[in-house]
Symmetry: C2
Subunit: 629 residues, 2 copies
Amino acid sequence: MTGRHPRSIATVCLSGDLTDKLEAAANIGFDGVEIFENDLLTFAGSPADVRKMAADLGLAIALFQPFRDFEAMPEPQRARNMDRAERKFDVMQALGTDLVLVCSNVQPVCIDDPARAAADLHEMAERAAKRGLRVGFEALAWGRHTRRWREAWNIVHRADHPALGLIVDSFHTLALKDDPSGIAELPGSKIFFVQLADAPLYNMDVLQWSRHYRNFPGQGQLPVTGFLKAVLDSGYAGPLSLEIFNDEFRAAPVRQTARDGLRSLILAEALASSSVPAAALPPVPDLSGIEFLEFAVNEPKRQELAEFLGTLGFRLAGRHRSKAVELYRQGAVNLVLNAEPDSAAAGHFEMHGTSVCAMGLSVSDSRAASRRAEALLCAGWNEKRGEGERALPALRAPNGSLVLLVEKAGGRPSLWEEDFHLLPSPEAEAGAGMLGIDHVTQALAPGQMDSFVLFYRAVFGLEPEAEVDLPDPQGLVHSRAMVSRDGRLRLPLNTSEARETATGRFVSAAAGAGVHHIAFLVEDAASTAAAMVGRGAPLLAIPENYYDDLEARFGLDAARLETLRSVHLLHDQDAEEGCFTHAYTTSFSDRFFFEIVERRGGYRQFGAANAAVRMAAQARYHARMRLRS
Amino acid sequence: MTGRHPRSIATVCLSGDLTDKLEAAANIGFDGVEIFENDLLTFAGSPADVRKMAADLGLAIALFQPFRDFEAMPEPQRARNMDRAERKFDVMQALGTDLVLVCSNVQPVCIDDPARAAADLHEMAERAAKRGLRVGFEALAWGRHTRRWREAWNIVHRADHPALGLIVDSFHTLALKDDPSGIAELPGSKIFFVQLADAPLYNMDVLQWSRHYRNFPGQGQLPVTGFLKAVLDSGYAGPLSLEIFNDEFRAAPVRQTARDGLRSLILAEALASSSVPAAALPPVPDLSGIEFLEFAVNEPKRQELAEFLGTLGFRLAGRHRSKAVELYRQGAVNLVLNAEPDSAAAGHFEMHGTSVCAMGLSVSDSRAASRRAEALLCAGWNEKRGEGERALPALRAPNGSLVLLVEKAGGRPSLWEEDFHLLPSPEAEAGAGMLGIDHVTQALAPGQMDSFVLFYRAVFGLEPEAEVDLPDPQGLVHSRAMVSRDGRLRLPLNTSEARETATGRFVSAAAGAGVHHIAFLVEDAASTAAAMVGRGAPLLAIPENYYDDLEARFGLDAARLETLRSVHLLHDQDAEEGCFTHAYTTSFSDRFFFEIVERRGGYRQFGAANAAVRMAAQARYHARMRLRS
């Protein structure tokens, strides 16, 4: 094998009718599809119409699926199943596909006899071969007698018919914690088809898990790469195909799912076949953090936000050479306020109001990073720029927001020096103690979590931490942090099906703009909070009861408690006695808010234990603001 | 015991802040609450403020919870835990509650020694007693060493302190399939508190199950009645309290959840203590089916709907004596079109458009049925009526729609004879073959399923069938049928988180009106469908591929297939070869639609196997209509 494998997707992964599904698969660049029988039965055109539509779109129909409960049935069902197979062969010929997926029988009456199963499949293959068709046999993880790939292989091997082969599926194999490595020893030509799916690790009934919670490779926690390596080592040359049953995918926009699917396949093949040039991707970017955050504003909001940032100790540090863009700075934090008309920011402001429209990431090689993003199907963006100004490669996140790639090269002037008139920095002005950006949290619409996890994992090599549930007074918020390997970039992602939670309210108000909260790292949270209060920053008020509980839980001394209490600081400790001290501002324009965080003793989390207190305080603030307006 | 037990609810069951929770609990009629610690920590007032608020509302604070990971810890945690307990005793005294819930330790470092656990709890109880407080110990189903009520009891018994008692929880007991019957043998005075929760039967990790999927007694599948009987047989005289962790409850309107909770407690106590008069309810009504369905219309829509019903073989059978209300009839089906201004129907039309505003159920004793509904917290309704017209007791379903109770008494004229000018029924007019109403399906907004299951179960004694997932092209629809014991009343309930499914579209378009589809029982679906087509009824077109598959699956003969195909009939069979033949109309005004169903050989289901075909056809029809408009 030197070329890449054909890429395919089962129609059951996608929402809409068969026309929507085939168009979306073709438009994003899949080579083929598996036709899920239900999608054909519910379709108003004939199988010949489907064949023509696929051909016009340049899609192969790689497989027809599934044929259920076939092998090892007693009579009269056995004879009836052979008739049923002939009817389905008619459909396959009309569709123009040569391969049918038979999944292992789940019926209680099915006979526990591999020889009988092999004989039945041999007869089916014989009938298929007469029409130039082929049969693939797959072990369902909840099959009656055949559950593992090796059991299915033994039956295929015993049946010994050229038109009968094995189909393997990463979910069925890995859900049972079965070892896929032996697949590498099979003759690749006897593997007729390969299905890939990932899933979060849930301790639940495997059938329910499979039917509702599968997701694309790279979105879950199964070791799909190891499975795929074994498959590729067998010499298998056929399609790699996605087969996902997922409640959210069924309801998601079909183009989003198709793009995520192909992105996941490209990544999976690259990870599993690092030695095959055709499958290779440019390397994961070397990231050193967030260089800047850019806010879309108009003129009144620019002024309002600048004042708000002033209370946090930021000062105006520069003006863009050719655009209505300002730089505010403190420590290593750069915040850009963009009020330029006819720009990406202006379009963003129009749709989302005052909000973060772009995130600038520092990378060592922006062109390589950009090539990787492009290979992984990210749309690019080129902002118009003035004479001599720097071109920043940009790409779009799944919700359309921009990620800009800022290259830091030794010797070269910085982006700010190149594009901005920088103001002199008064030695005496100390700011409030912000050192850098600790993390940036995005609020996603329901159904977008998997999409963002895959985006950050594939394009930037971030890894997802475990999901935590945060109890807002109006419902749960699910949170998952994407973190770079060296921990320098931390991007928590929040989502909530409940529409009145802090996350839900933001998603409606900001039309899914993304960045909901920005946390600055500080050396000493107490002195920073005090400095902020001194400058008039609106800190989120925390109830007294919280501090009484802190005393009971952690035995903090009275002076420390009084310090925390006086400037609305929250406190958490991890099992290794690492400490986290943090405070929040109220939200700006009912949108985003800021946090200051002090980390001690290797604390790595985000203070989830305090999220309920924070969200209840936000709900109170929100209710009070709503009453006023 | 002759009186009923105090009724309590844990604040964690309810959405909002502590003020919202206490107000909702008091307003619906709870006697007390358990204060969940997080609700106190996130509250802006002091414990004394909470005490005053509860007192002003007439609510007892029955318990403070939970105190975690207390017993059998090594030093120094043991000493620290005693300090922590003293701090929490301070809070309890300020709150004015005397009982704290200690749940069994889950920490890996906790010592596996019941004697040590007993000694620690004895010391805690001794400290509590000095302040006039009490400690209740409860086994968590996932506790480290104490998981079952008997293990917790053995520790309490060994500790032998008057201020230490047992707390039992139906979920923790029943989730482990533990036998609760031995609780009846305990001294009732040593049971300090009883928590009740139900849950659907999910085969999953018990901690996740408990944290996300509990629901109120009567909403799930656990044998809560048996548990509660054992508790009551012990002589326990304290509160019965609901403790539910449920993602949907967290986001649901607080008053809805409070009402459902109290309804479930009233029912649970009545079921478990049938011999106690104070807990008794009027009996479950003797239902004989749906006497009528009433549609809210205005004048143009009345005419349009009357014409639509005409194509289904309905004819005008009567006019109301004093109101702008018409009766359409066929077989035993009565459909009422209500265009009366200033009526409940007019209010319904204003809010929901043309839709079913009331369902009339035939009962043998309408006053008893009404008393039961009232005892179960259903709001009543009295429509104004003309001189000599029948008073129909009415109650509101959880979404506000009306259920009218129509008494059929031997000898008495029917409702129709009393209140309507009936038109002579022409002997020759045969209709299209509708015999009666087979089932009526309601579409519920997400989060309403449990509420409706409890309503129909408690008030009318219907039982829920297993939930099925129906694949719409735009997402899953979850369906659960509520069926009377004799099968004469069948009310499927559908819900969908996906907003573009048939169910989701209806819920938005009709603002949660409820009835989405009405199925008529017929003798011969083929001839009825043909008669409907002859009258111009718009049948929902079914794809050819569906019939090809029917042939392959069931081996139907060519003539039968041709009949089905010609009038868009769908076919299903159950395992006992019972047959179901059915067809659908397109929807009226993009709202409700009708179905005809023929049942043979004891088929009891609703043709779920064909739902995907139906919903795909509806999506196509909807898209076409939208294009036209």
